[in-house]
Amino acid sequence: MRFTPMTTLTAVATIMTAGTAMADCGIESGRVAILSNDFPALHAMAEGAAECASGTVEVTANQTTEHRDLQVAALTANPAEYTAAIVANSSIVPLLNEGLIRPLDDLIAQYAPDLPMTNRITIDGQVMAVAFMANAQHLFLRSDILEQVGAEQPTTYEEVLEVLAAVREAGIMEHPWAMNTGSGWNLGEEFVNMYMGFGGDLFEPGTAMPAINNETGLATLQMLAALNEYANPDFLTFDSNATQALWESGELAAAYMWGSRGGGILDDENSTPEITGATVLTAAPTVGGGDIPASTLWWDGFTIAANISDEDAAATFQALMHGLRPEVISANNDAAVWLMPGYTPGAPAAGVAATAQAGTRPYPMLPYVGLMHTALGNELAQFLQGEESAEQALADVEAAYTAAAREQGFLQ
């Protein structure tokens, strides 16, 4: 879920497979190869799984932000290059479409019968993934600056705008706001979040027909434009790394960022105690009188490849569950909002927890949502630069999506 421009700089971590201390994973033999995104919570999981390595069990991991571009090709091979792929709501879809991951019901029954239902990603009656952490974008606030302008914590975007106006008025900051509006995937995500907050649906129910060119879409764009009036003019280049750096250097009074950045923002690196001490993580605001936050819920979970032997699948399942056992979770408590036993929600999780409790909808797990996301990310920048009208921008998104969906066979 985090995108950096440094596509070539992705870390490839290979965990040594030396037959060191035999951990008690109960695996006799097999191959465990993990493909995942690259952030601390997943490092912890992979290191935990690597403890299962022995003379007969091989454990490797490729942790890269480019995992989504590798996964389909790597799991299509037979035997698959990776035995496990760590996915999220959106990236599980291409694996499902191609039938590259196996149902986990039997493995769960045999090795983890107590796994709660909420962790089981069930699709048409079959468990296809085990969810182990949650994420969502939500509001980050500076309580000291709110105090200076005499404002309460905003709970709606309309109130956020008032706070931003007050901060600018008081001469504290010229650009007090930031969100991940980098042209491309990030910008598309901001539209989806705001649009969901207005109660919109991206598609006509049950079909791949786009449904964004309407009043709700216009309201969404107007709100995004109004907010970014208060953002640094570079806002169309902002990704998670950029917004986190701005926050940590104390240049923002309010921001809308991923919950998974909470740990990094609140720790004692790259910032001052004054800033981190005054940072408050709170639910994503509602918008336009709606009653659910303008955000989408995401889960990260593991899937197991279809094109591998049953022995390797069993070894992979056990190793991953070993990597997610309560001791690993509690040792890395603040690295993520875990959905596993052993987790005690701390300060970095407050925003995601509040956002989820307020009834935020999950990011849709639809086969064609990726095409819509790409179209949104590519076509909205011109509107936000003030070069075209909101109506034109939405018409462009609809046309770009329709062309892509025709080519992919979702629309005729």
């Binding site: 989504r68 389909v72 979702f410």
Partner: protein
Amino acid sequence: MPHRTFIWFILPSLAAMILFIALPIVSVLVQSLHVEHEQVLVTVENCGPFGCTEETRVDREATAELREAQPLGRFNGFGTYLDRGHLATQELAAAWESSESLGAFWGQVMNLPFYRALVFTLAYTFIVTPLVLILGLAIALGVNGLPRMLRGPTIFFSLLPMIVTPLIGSLVLFWMIDADGVIGATLQILFDDPDLSLKASPTLTWITLFIYGVWSSAPFAFIVFYAGLQTVPEETLEAAMIDGASRWERIRYVVIPHLMPLAVFITLMQLMDNFRVFEPIVGFQAQASATSLSYLIYSSLRGDTQQFGSAAATSMLTILGVSILLAPVLIRTWRDFNRKRA
């Protein structure tokens, strides 16, 4: 060389070229003429940590049958080439009908992704290429005039922009032109404008990319010209001096004509390279203001759903574009070659 010997002589490289260049292009061409099968959608119940929802998914078995029957996908002819993501013939016709002035029509054309990318690509190619030639020659003449002792270090430093990997080079510059970076902050002070941002406005982004292009390619032109300068005949230069030619006249009438074949070579290479501009757009995160044809290909292949047909069509159009650009130079070379033979 007898034809027979010649054939044997080039056979290995010919075979490699067919295997690694021609066949892949043919495969991309075939791909571009096909689109994915119709996806059979079914509605199922999905459950997870945030509750259950009714969602559609692809009926894999039904789709697999379709795929079995036609492994390449549905034949679409030139349909992908003409859709909105590429040549957009229908959209162009509609824009022509509806717009009252040429300016309004142009505005609508620039709203189509392919043409927007094409305009930037052409602007980049035709602005960067001549500047690289001129700057490269100027550096070469300058270095050639230095005392021998200083030449080595100067050549090394002049080559640095070319040695740095393009993506790294553009990332370094991207951070330097940030409002908090050394170049960005200096420009804000110089122009006394605290809101000046090279990343925000499309015009400034274009200029930044052009400057980056010249910066990274000029060393290539420089080193080729510098090598050429070592072969300029001394006698001709001395004769020109005796005739009273100034330094400028010697460059204009002796050096430049001598370096002409090298200039043609650099122009060819630069036209090809610049037409495929890609890394700086990623490095500078410039896709909001500037996209190129190569960037469109990259964008089609990224994300959760990879659009191979669309990427293939853009690739073929890029090859066509390069051929058109190079045609005048190649025809000229061919004529020269024939004239020399005759």
